[in-house]
Amino acid sequence: MSTKFDVIIIGSGPAGVSAAFPLLEAGLNVLMIDGGKVPDMAPPEQDFLSARRDDFEQWKWMIVQDFRAIHMRSAVSPKFRVPSLAFTFDGFEQGNNIKGKNFVTIGSLAAGGLSNAWGCGVARFSSAELAEFPSEASSDMERSYEVVSRRIGISGKIDDDMSDYFKLDTYAQPPIPMDPLHASLATRYATQRTKLRAQGFRMGRSRVAALSEDVGSRKACNLSGNCLWGCRRRSLYSAADDLPKLHRYENFSRLAGFLVDGLTRRDGSWNIEGQGTDGTRRAIVAKTLLLAAGTLATTRLVLSALKYEEAVPVQSSPMAVFALWLPRFLATQRVPGFGLGQLSFAVTLAKATAFGSTFSTTGLPVSEFARHLPWRRRYGIDILSSLLGSCLAGNVFLPGNLTAGEARLQKDGALMVSGAYRGPVMPLMKEAADKLRRAYHSLGAFLLPGSFTIGAPGGDIHYAGTLPMRNQPAIGESSPVGEVMGLEGVYVVDGACLPILPEKSHTLTIMANADRIGRKIAVLQRRRAG
């Protein structure tokens, strides 16, 4: 394939599509290459509880023919066991030649990438966090945040104690209604907030990329409770939803099902080498190349093109999960509701801030909890069936620089990712657990003893910072527009180029940054042409 494209983007996830829009707007010819996997099963037709009550075939979407949910028993998150999400995760490590050692390495070969299975958490980086970006980058982010937020649709706009933390209310739709448990926490918080804020705990509605009002063909959330299993209404944003919009541009082309495995420099252009799903190998020539394959896959492509054998850092947010019990709701019936974050909190710790959200337990299989309960299974289920309806699940994240992760290209071409939590993580997690226990206690909820569980490094699947943008980049770093030092015309637009990974959700920032780089490249290209 000759260089009839001005720009080639590798990856169709949140970063890839966000970079594509400004390039297309500027009239450039863009080719997007991706793994192209698509869902192979339809989302449930009924709401979660009705389907559970009536559907004799429910095992097909809960477990599926090849018993995926059981086969993937030891995977870190329930998401990996969900049959309808299999297409999102399968084949990534083998396809991209990535290995993890004491580190969870997840990625996607799907159209839309990991956003097919994300928690939809969105936040803007604070000005202090953006100050870690190269100076020219941080000043342009404001506009990009707005463009991206408006495009993907965000809900949760409300004046609360988390408004400043997320800084998204200007672009957001109203929040999706809370379930009674969360509503009770919010009501109690209103009366206790002064005290809790003094303790360093603040709480508010989660800001999520899920619709409370229709946007185009995507419909507002109807509280079906199918967030984990697949949303028929497409209320939850996936970058796959942007692909039809991109196809409306005549200057957009897409090559789906092509797995890039190497970049080589030839006659001032880049040869993008890879393999189609049918196994045929080919090379595509590009002058300008945007890498949006996801932090790990992008890192491998860059390091092997650079023939760089030193380790590069990997940031990843240490994560823990916990369960809350609200005794007042012991006798409530299960009601369907929104399955992703409903309330979020930020806790000020001695040397960091922790961020997290709480979720309804209704849309999750009870088995997920039963297997961690150290009871005889029969009585464990008795307990859970009575208790879980009055329980919430929560997660909590710490800043990504607290994981000492590294990625190194091996002799055989594989990227080996390894890492461990840094020393302060355990004390910080303990502090977070104590503060959360106290805070939730004042809100009428008990942090269940033994439920606070710290995940494995990489288990958050927030990877970033392997090829960070710097004002003065060295080899293994990138310029303020993501251009890799030593690889002219190769730009990193995904999490790999973030210089910092705070505790908060980073996807929106990756998208805004990709949009920003897309704009810059559009200007550069036009200048070159004109």
Binding site: D66, F67, I70, L330, R377, Y379, I381
Partner: protein, 426 residues
């Protein structure tokens, strides 16, 4: 391959055709009656027919047909001539020929059955065909000699234990069909006799006992009878012309010499199922054990009998993800699933066994949950909830948990012994 099968509606024929079709062979049935099990090409054919026209393009003729009903005017020559006609017909279309004979085939066999088989074997080998001598064919539906034996064991409360007992070499009908097909599919040169049967003979008494135990699940008494007495009596019946085929075939059991089957089994890569396994109606004891295990675990989890579909899913899952291996849980635990609470962490003598049990319990939990009954049990959908009833459930669960914990702590040696015994019983 295009395979013509005589005796297509018979015991072996039915299973051979079923298997051959899964291997994508094209079957022509050559038989008196049209096979009703599945639609297929059919050539009506009687043993007494003087000619038969096989379809051109036929690759192999498998001759299974035999005269199995006794009649006064039965003529030894009929079967031999029928085989002659078939061999000629096969040669005409350049098809290979396979004759499925019998362990009793000998030139001077005491029964006409054995003599007929011998004469046909001679013909087939002379024509460059294959001869296969199976042992005592059994399993799946109760037909043929096996059918007669199942019928007798089912009806007669006291069975003869002949002294000395004849030794039989059984082969499951599915295994035999597999073996026949492997010969047909292989490129091996013709003109050879294969012997297919269990390599270790078992006594006829044990065989009857296993039919009672594994197939019919009943208990049978055995009365020792000198073999000579039986043979004497049957000779008297013979003289009185009261013999029935069944008797003659039982008679022929006393005339079996051991077949060395190991080299043929190895050559075909054929692994025979155990007698115990093959005698179950499902064709395998393993499957039954998987069902028992699934039933116990799912009942334990759901506190009620699971729907059959969930049970079948459990078995399929074990087959797919665990190669069909069962845990070998002791019978009392299988029969009374509540007792599974006796199994605690300290019960297991190794980490692997403990992890495997945990895996199966998790799998059963999820399989049980993903059913409408599971939504009641796990989510409490459609159940009455009051604060009081919820509290009651919690207290009761905690009490039970405590009770079982103490019981299991006290009973560790006993439970370990049960587990070891269940393992050894295999």
């Amino acid at each position: 391959m295009r395979i013509a099968v005589t005796g297509a509606t018979g015991y072996i024929g039915t299973y051979l055709i079923g298997l051959a079709r899964t291997h994508n062979h094209y079957i022509t049935a050559v038989s008196r009656r049209r096979p009703h099990s599945r639609p297929m090409d059919w050539i009506p054919w009687e043993m007494s027919a003087k000619t038969v026209a096989l379809p051109p393009g036929t690759d192999v003729v498998v001759h299974l047909a035999a005269e199995t009903t006794w009649s006064r005017d039965r003529n030894e020559e009929t079967e031999v001539l029928a085989a002659e006609v078939l061999v000629a017909a096969a040669r005409k279309v350049r098809a290979k020929f396979m004759f499925v004979s019998s362990q009793t085939a000998r030139p001077h066999a005491p029964t006409s059955y054995g003599r007929i088989k011998w004469r046909i074997e001679e013909q087939v080998l002379a024509a460059g065909g294959w001869v296969v001598r199976p042992g005592l064919v059994y399993g799946a539906s109760a037909r043929g000699v096996f059918g007669t034996l199942v019928d007798i064991v089912g009806r007669v409360p006291i069975l003869p234990a002949f002294l000395p007992a004849p030794q039989v070499q059984p082969i499951h009908v599915h295994d035999l069909a597999e073996g026949l097909l492997r010969i047909v599919e292989g490129e091996e040169a013709s003109c050879r006799t294969y012997v297919l049967a269990g390599s270790q003979p078992v006594s006829f008494t044990r065989f009857l006992h296993e039919i009672a135990r594994s197939r019919l699940r009943c208990h049978r008494m055995f009365l020792p009878i000198p073999a000579s007495l039986f043979l004497g009596c049957s000779r008297v019946l013979d003289v009185l012309s009261l013999r029935r085929w069944g008797i003659e075939r039982v008679q022929s059991l006393f005339d079996l010499s051991k077949m060395e089957t190991v080299s043929d089994l190895n050559r075909l890569g054929l692994v025979l199922r155990s007698l115990n396994s093959g005698l179950h109606v499902s064709g395998s004891a393993r499957k039954r054990r998987m069902l028992q295990e699934g039933l116990a675990l799912l009942t334990y989890v759901l506190k009620t009998r699971p729907e059959n579909a969930a049970l079948r899913r459990y078995v399929r899952m074990i087959e797919q993800l665990r190669g069909g291996e069962t845990l070998n849980l002791p019978n009392p635990l299988l029969r009374h699933p509540a007792l599974l609470s006796l199994l605690g962490d300290s019960t297991w003598d190794n980490e692997a066994a403990k992890a495997e049990f945990a895996w199966r319990m998790d799998a059963a939990t999820l399989l049980g949950e993903a059913t409408p009954a599971g939504s009641v049990r796990f989510l409490g959908l459609g159940r009455q909830h009051g604060l009081f009833s919820r509290g009651q459930v919690l207290v009761k669960a905690a009490t039970c948990e405590l009770m079982w914990r103490s019981l299991s702590a006290v009973g560790v040696p006993l439970v370990r012994k049960m587990l070891a015994r269940a393992k050894a019983a295999l």
